[in-house]
Amino acid sequence: MRAVLRDAGGARLAVVAGFAAVFGAVVLGEFLAFRRGLEALRGLDLAGLALSLYFLESVLVLILLIALVSYVASGLWVFYRAGDTRFLLASPLPLPGLFALRAVQTFLLTSWPLAVVGAPALVALGTAHARGAGFYAAGAGTLGLFAVLIGAAGALVTAVAGSALRRAPTRLAVGVVTVALVALFAVAVGRGVVPSTSDFYAIFEPGALNGKPASIKFIETKFALWPSHPYAAALHAGATGSEAGSAATRAAAWLLPAAVLALAATLGLGLYRRALPTVAESFVLAGGEPAAPGRGRARSFPRRLAGPVGALVERDLLALVRNPHEWSRAAFLVFLLALYTAFLFVAPLGEVADRPAAVARLLLLNVLAAGYFLTAFGLRFVFPSVSLEGRAAWVLFSSPVSLRRLLAAKLGLHAGLLAAAVVPIALAGTLRLTGDPRLVAATAVLLLLLAATTATLLLALGAAWPNFREPNPEALSTSGAGLAGTLACLGYVALVGWCASRVALALAAGGGGLPWLALAGLVSAALVAGALALAWRRLPTLEVV
C-alpha cells in the first residue's frame, strides 16, 4: 500500500490497474444506465423511437464538442510547445511528418469521450434492440469515421488558432481559444440540443411527413447542421430499423471526414508551417523582458490579504488568475455541470414533485453528479496544488513559515473555490426537483460538506505524497495517492448521495432528516480528521528536490 501511495517501483502497475478498474466501472455504469433508458424508450413505440434518436444525436453532439475542446486545448501545447519541439525541428524530420505526429498524439490524448461515452452508448443501443455482431461492426465503423472527423477538425482548428495567436503567450492563447469554444458551444447546445417543452410536444406528435414519422423528421431537421448528425442517423437506423437519415447523410458520413482531413492536410499544414517557427523561437528573452508600458508601476504584494498565510493564498489566486490554461480547464468543467443542470431544468419534471421516490432518486443523481464534478475538480486542481509548488518550493521550505500553515491556507482557498464553483449550480438543480425548503436546506448542507471534505481529502493526500519534480497536473493526479483519493472521494460521494435520498424520503413521510444529516456529518468529520492527521504527520518529513 505504501509503495502504491509513493508510486514506487512496480507499484505503478497497480496504480494503472486501479485507474483502469475505476474507468471500467464508470463505463459499465454508463452502459447499464444507457441500456435501461433505451429499453424503456423502446416500450414507447413511435415516441420512443424518436426519443432514442434524440438521445443518440445529443450524445454524439456532446462527444464532438467535448473532444474538440479537449483537442484544441491540448493541441495548442502539443503542436507548438511540446518539450521535444526544438529537438525535432533541428532534426531532418519533414514538417508534414511532425504535423501528422502531433495530430495523432493529440488525438490519442483527447479522444477519451469516444471511449467513455461513445462505446457504452453503442453497446447499450445494440443490446437494447437485440442486434447481432453485424450491427456492432457497422457501429464501430461509424464511430471510427466520426473519430476521423473529430481528429481532422481538431487539427484544423488547432492550426488556425495557433496561427492566429502565434504571437500571444501560449497559455493566453489556450485560455482564449478554450473559453471561446466553450462559450460558442454553450450557446449552440443551449439553442440546438437541450430540448424545449415544445420540442417534447413535437416528439410525441403522431403523424408522417413524406412517408417518415414526423417526430423523426423533426429531430433530423433540428440536428441537420451538426456534423455528428449523419453518424447518429446511421446508428439509429442500424439499431432500430428506423428511416432516420437519407442517401445524402449516408454520403456525408464518408465525405465529411475526407473533406476535413484534406483541409487539415493542406490549409492546416500551411498554417502550422507558418506559425511553428514564430512560436518555437519565443521561448525566452535572455536579456529579460521589461514590463509593458503602462503596466510598469511598482506593485507591492500582497495587496488584499495580510500576513504570510494571506500572502500564500493571494499568490495561489494570482497564479490561477494569470494562468488562462488552468482557468479555461476549470471553465470547461463548470460548463459540463451547467449543461447537466440545464437538461434538468428543461426536462419535463412537472409531476415529479408529487412522487417522493422519484424526487429521492433524482436528488441522489443530482448529489452524485455534484460529487463527481467535485472529485474531478479536486483531482485536477486541489490534489496537485502542493506538488505544483514544484521547483520553487525551496522558497517555502527554507522560509520560517510552517508547512502546516501553508496547508491550512491552501485548504481554505480550495474548499472555498470548490464550493463556489459547484454548490450553486447543484443547488439550482435541487430547486428544480423540490420546493420543500427543508429538503433544499438539507441538500445545501450536504453539498457544502461534500465540497469541504473532498477538498480536504484530496489536498491532504496530495500533500502527504507530493512529487515536486512533476509539473504536469494530469500526471500528478494519476499517481498512487491520486488513485487513493479518487476511490475515497467516490465512495464518500456515494454515501452522501444515499443520505440525501434518505432525507428526501424521510421528509416526505413526515419525519425528520436529521439522522441522515448527522451520519453524513460524522463520516465527513472522520474523513477530514483522518486526512488532516495524515498530512500533519507527513508534512514535517517532506523534502524538496
Binding site: G287, G288, E289, P290, R315, W394, V395, E543
Partner: protein, 261 residues
C-alpha cells in the same frame, strides 16, 4: 588525522553555523557522511568537491529543505530541525536552480519573500529597489513576470531574495553560475560586505577562483566526507609536492586534494 585534515582552520568560538555529525542517506547510500564543521561570524566558508561529493546535499540540509538522517544543524546555536521557524529567520538561501514563482513579477516575488520572513512593510519597497540595483539589468525587469527571466536574472533575483530580510547566515549553492562578469563581481563584493558586517556564509561552488577570492576557509568534500579543510594558502601548501619551487595551481590543488590522478 583530524588535526591534519583541519590544517590551518581558523579558531571558531561562537559559530553562526555548526554541523555536528551530519549524515544524509538516500536509499541506503550515504550522500553526506558524519560531516562536522563550523562557520564563525564574519567568515565565508567554501565547499568544493567533485560532482556527487555531497556539496548540494549539505547545502540543502543547512537550508532546511532536506532532513538529516543523523546529526544536527545549529544556526546560531538553534537546532534547525527542532526549531525550524526560529532558525530559518536567521537564514538566507540561494539554491542551485533558482526557480521562482513564474506567474509573479520579480517585485511581487520579493515582496512575498519579505512577507514570509516577517519583514515589516515600511521600507520594503526601497530596500528591494536598492538591492535590485546592485545587479545590472535586474531593476528594469523587476515588474515583468519571472517566467521571462533568463538563468542569470533568476540567479540575481534569488540572491536579492536571500539578502532582503538581513539574514545572519547565507547559504548559497553556486553563487555566480549564469551571472555576467559584472554581476559576478557585484556578487563577490556583496558577499564580502555581508561577512564584514558580521554575517557568515556557506558557499558551495565549482568556481575555484571565486572560492579563492572570497572564502576565508575552504572544505573539500569527497564521498560525503570532509577530505580537507583550511584557508587556501594552507591547502595549497598541502597540495604542493615537496621540493617544488612553485605552489600548486588551483586546478592542481583541487585534483590532488580530491584524490584524482
Amino acid at each position: 588525522m583530524e588535526d591534519d585534515v583541519r590544517a590551518g582552520a581558523a579558531e571558531v568560538t561562537t559559530p553562526l553555523l555548526a554541523l555536528e555529525g551530519l549524515s544524509k542517506r538516500f536509499a541506503g547510500r550515504a550522500a553526506v557522511d558524519d560531516l562536522s564543521l563550523a562557520v564563525a561570524p564574519g567568515e565565508i566558508y567554501g565547499l568544493i568537491g567533485p560532482n556527487g561529493s555531497g556539496k548540494t546535499t549539505t547545502v540543502k540540509l543547512v537550508a532546511g529543505v532536506y532532513r538529516p538522517t543523523a546529526g544536527r544543524v545549529l544556526v546560531n546555536g538553534i537546532d534547525l530541525h527542532a526549531e525550524p521557524e526560529r532558525a530559518k529567520r536567521l537564514l538566507g538561501y540561494v539554491p542551485d536552480e533558482p526557480f521562482a514563482y513564474e506567474r509573479m513579477s520579480g517585485r511581487e516575488f520579493l515582496h512575498l519573500v519579505d512577507e514570509l520572513w516577517g519583514v515589516p512593510p515600511a521600507g520594503r519597497g526601497a530596500r528591494i529597489e536598492d538591492l535590485a540595483r546592485t545587479f545590472s539589468g535586474l531593476a528594469p525587469i523587476l515588474d515583468a513576470h519571472v517566467d521571462g527571466y533568463s538563468r542569470g536574472n533568476r540567479q540575481k533575483l534569488a540572491l536579492v531574495a536571500a539578502l532582503l530580510h538581513a539574514p545572519r547566515l547565507l547559504v548559497i549553492d553556486e553563487p555566480i553560475v549564469g551571472l555576467d562578469p559584472e554581476s559576478a563581481l557585484r556578487a563577490r563584493e556583496l558577499l564580502r560586505a555581508f561577512a564584514a558586517g558580521g554575517g557568515a556564509a556557506l558557499v558551495c561552488t565549482h568556481t575555484l577562483s571565486f572560492a579563492e577570492a572570497v572564502c576565508h576557509r575552504v572544505g573539500l568534500l569527497r564521498d560525503g566526507r570532509l577530505a580537507a579543510e583550511g584557508d587556501m594558502d594552507a591547502l595549497r601548501r598541502r597540495a604542493t609536492p615537496e621540493g617544488s619551487p612553485e605552489g600548486a595551481s588551483l586546478e592542481e590543488l583541487y585534483l590532488r586534494l580530491a584524490g584524482r590522478p
